[in-house]
Point group: none
Chain length 324, copies 2
C-alpha cells in the first residue's frame, strides 16, 4: 500500500503535514520498521495516522518522542516500561538517568575549570554561527594543550556535548554540521603535519567504519593519537563493507584494524558485523573497536579489544609493542 518514491524527508514536516512515512522514521530514529509496527501492536504507541493508501504517517511529535525513547533504551531501560509514556515523563527519566550514564566521560570533565569554560566558549561560537572563532579557538587550544590532551580532553567531550545538545533540540542540524566540518579541518591539519614519519616504530593500522556508519570524527581523533604513538595509519574513511575491510587489511598487510562506532545502530547488527569481520581477518591481525556505541562494552567480545575511552588507546599500542 505504498509506492516507490514517497520523497519527503523532513522538508514538509513544518509547513503542511501529511506526516512522515515509516521509512523516514526509521532513518531518523534508528528504530526498524518491524519494531515500529510491533510496538504499535503491543503498546499502542506510536499510533500514526494513515494516508489515502493506508500507509502509516507519523507526526513530528511522535518522532521526537521516539528519539527520547531511543536514548532511554541505550541507557539500559526496557521498552515495555517506557514506550507508552508522554514527552514530559520521558524527559524526566532522561535527566534523572543522565548522571548514571557516562561515568567514563565525566572523569575528564569537571575536574578542570579552564577546560570547562573553554568548552562553553566553543559551544557558544557554534550557536553564534561564527566558524572563524570556532576554528581559531580549536586551533589555539591544540597548540596550547598539545595534540593528545587536545583530542582526549577537549575534542572528545565537546563532541558528545554537541551531540547531546542536538538531541535535546538546543542545536539545529546545520549547527552540528558546521562543528563537524570545522573540527574535521583542524584535525586533518594536525594529522597532515605529523605525516612524514620515517621509520614506523608502531603497528600499521587500518582505520575505517563499517557500512551505514557515517560518523567520521572518531576516526580522525584515533588517527591523530595513533600517529603520535608512531603508528603507520591507512584510513579508508567511512562506510566500508565488511568484506572490503578484510580485503584491504590483507592488501595493505596491516597489523591492526581499528573501527569506530557511533550509537545509532542496533546492538545485534554491530555484534554480527564484528563477528563476521573477525572470522574473515587473519588471526594475527588485531581488531580494535571504539566509539560511543553502547553495544561494544556490554559484553566482552572474543578476539576484539574494545577502547571505551581514548586514553586507553596508548596502553593498547604499548601492549601491542610488548607482544612483539
Amino acid at each position: 500500500m505504498n509506492s516507490l518514491s514517497s520523497s519527503p524527508t523532513l522538508g514538509e514536516s513544518l509547513s503542511n503535514s501529511p506526516g512522515l512515512p515509516i521509512a523516514t522514521v526509521e532513518r531518523e530514529t534508528g528504530l526498524g520498521k518491524d519494531t515500529l509496527r510491533v510496538w504499535e501492536r503491543r503498546y499502542g504507541f506510536p499510533k500514526p495516522v494513515r494516508d489515502s493508501a493506508g500507509d502509516r504517517r507519523y507526526s513530528a511529535t511522535q518522532v521526537q518522542q521516539l528519539r527520547l525513547i531511543r536514548r532511554l533504551l541505550d541507557a539500559g531501560m526496557r521498552p515495555g516500561k517506557i514506550v507508552g509514556l508522554n514527552h514530559a515523563q520521558l524527559q524526566a527519566l532522561l535527566t534523572q538517568h543522565a548522571p548514571a550514564l557516562p561515568e567514563y566521560l565525566s572523569k575528564t570533565i569537571s575536574t578542570n575549570r579552564a577546560l570547562d569554560s573553554l568548552q562553553e566558549a566553543l559551544l557558544q561560537a557554534i550557536g553564534r554561527h561564527d566558524p572563524r572563532a570556532l576554528r581559531h579557538g580549536l586551533s589555539a587550544a591544540q597548540m596550547r594543550m598539545g595534540l593528545a590532551p587536545f583530542v582526549t580532553d577537549l575534542v572528545a567531550p565537546l563532541t558528545t556535548a554537541v551531540g547531546e545538545a542536538w538531541a535535546q533540540g538546543r542545536f539545529e542540524v546545520f549547527e552540528e554540521h558546521l562543528y563537524t566540518e570545522v573540527l574535521t579541518g583542524v584535525l586533518r591539519q594536525a594529522i597532515a603535519s605529523l605525516t612524514p614519519q620515517p621509520a614506523s616504530q608502531g603497528p600499521k593500522v587500518l582505520l575505517t567504519t563499517l557500512s551505514q556508519e557515517q560518523h567520521g570524527l572518531g576516526l580522525l581523533m584515533v588517527e591523530a593519537l595513533l600517529m603520535l604513538e608512531g603508528c603507520a595509519c591507512v584510513s579508508l574513511g567511512t562506510q566500508t563493507p565488511v568484506a572490503d575491510v578484510a580485503q584491504a587489511a590483507r592488501a595493505h598487510q596491516v597489523d591492526v584494524v581499528a573501527l569506530s562506532f557511533s550509537n545509532v545502530h542496533k546492538a545485534a547488527m554491530v555484534h554480527a558485523g564484528l563477528r563476521e569481520l573477525r572470522t574473515q581477518l587473519p588471526a594475527s591481525t588485531a581488531l580494535w573497536v571504539g566509539g560511543a556505541c553502547s553495544a561494544l562494552y556490554q559484553r566482552p567480545l572474543t578476539g576484539i579489544s574494545a577502547v571505551q575511552h581514548l586514553s586507553n588507546l596508548q596502553p593498547l599500542v604499548a601492549q601491542w609493542r610488548h607482544a612483539r
Copy 2:
C-alpha cells in the same frame, strides 16, 4: 521464524556454511529485505537455503552476485533483465557498459599527454595500494601545476576515472575509498593554507550537499577554487536536509548557496529538492549547482545556475561581482 542476535554471519562462509541471514545481506549489499524477498518470489533469485527455523541463509556466492547486480542497477539497468544472470554474464555486462560516457568530460582529458601519463601513474599507485606514493604524487602535482589547474585538469578527471574503474569492477571498494581519503587530505591541506583571507572581495558562499548525497569530494574541489577567487566559504559537509540549508543560509547571511550532486539519484528527486530549496531561500540568495548528476543539465532550472564544468565556476563568480 527467527530471533534477535542470529549470531552467524559470513564467518563460517568458508569452512562450514550456515549462510548469511537476511539482515547481514541487506547491510552488505544495500538491498532492502523486502526487495530481496520479492526478487526471490518474482525472479527466483536469490534462492537462499533455510536454517532450522525456516529463515533465509544466503551463500557468499549469492551475496557476491547481488553486489554486481547492485552496480548494474546504479548504471541504469533494470532488475528484470539482470537478476537471473550468473556471475560471468554479470561481469560481462559490467565491462561492456563502459563506453556510455558523458561527452562533457572528455574534453579536458587527452589534450595533454603529460597529464594523461600522470593520471595513469596515480591510478597505478591506487592499484598498488601505496597511499604514500599517491599522496606524494598528488601533492607534488598541486605544487607544480598550481591549485586551480590541479583541481580542474587533474583531480576532477581523475576522480571520474576512478569512479568508472570502480563501476567496471577494475577497482575494489576499498581502493576507491583509499583514493577518496588521500585526496581529501590533500585538498583540505590546500584549503587550510588559503584560509587566512582578510578582506573577502567575493561572495560569501555556503557549501553542502542535500540529504542522501554523501559524495564530498566535489565540495572540496569547489571550495578550493572559490577560495582562490577570494570567496568566503562556509562548508556544512554532506547530507544537509533542505530545510536546514535554508536555515543556515539565513543564519550565516550568505550570498550564494552551492550544492554538489553525484549521479546516484533519480532526476525527480533532485529537481524536487532544488525547487523546494529555491522557494525557501531569499530571492537575493543565488543558488549554484554542479557535479556529475545528469539531471542538472537536461533542462534549465529557473533561478538556479548549473555549473557543468569546474572551469565555469570562475566566470560565475566574476558575473556575481559585476552584478554588485
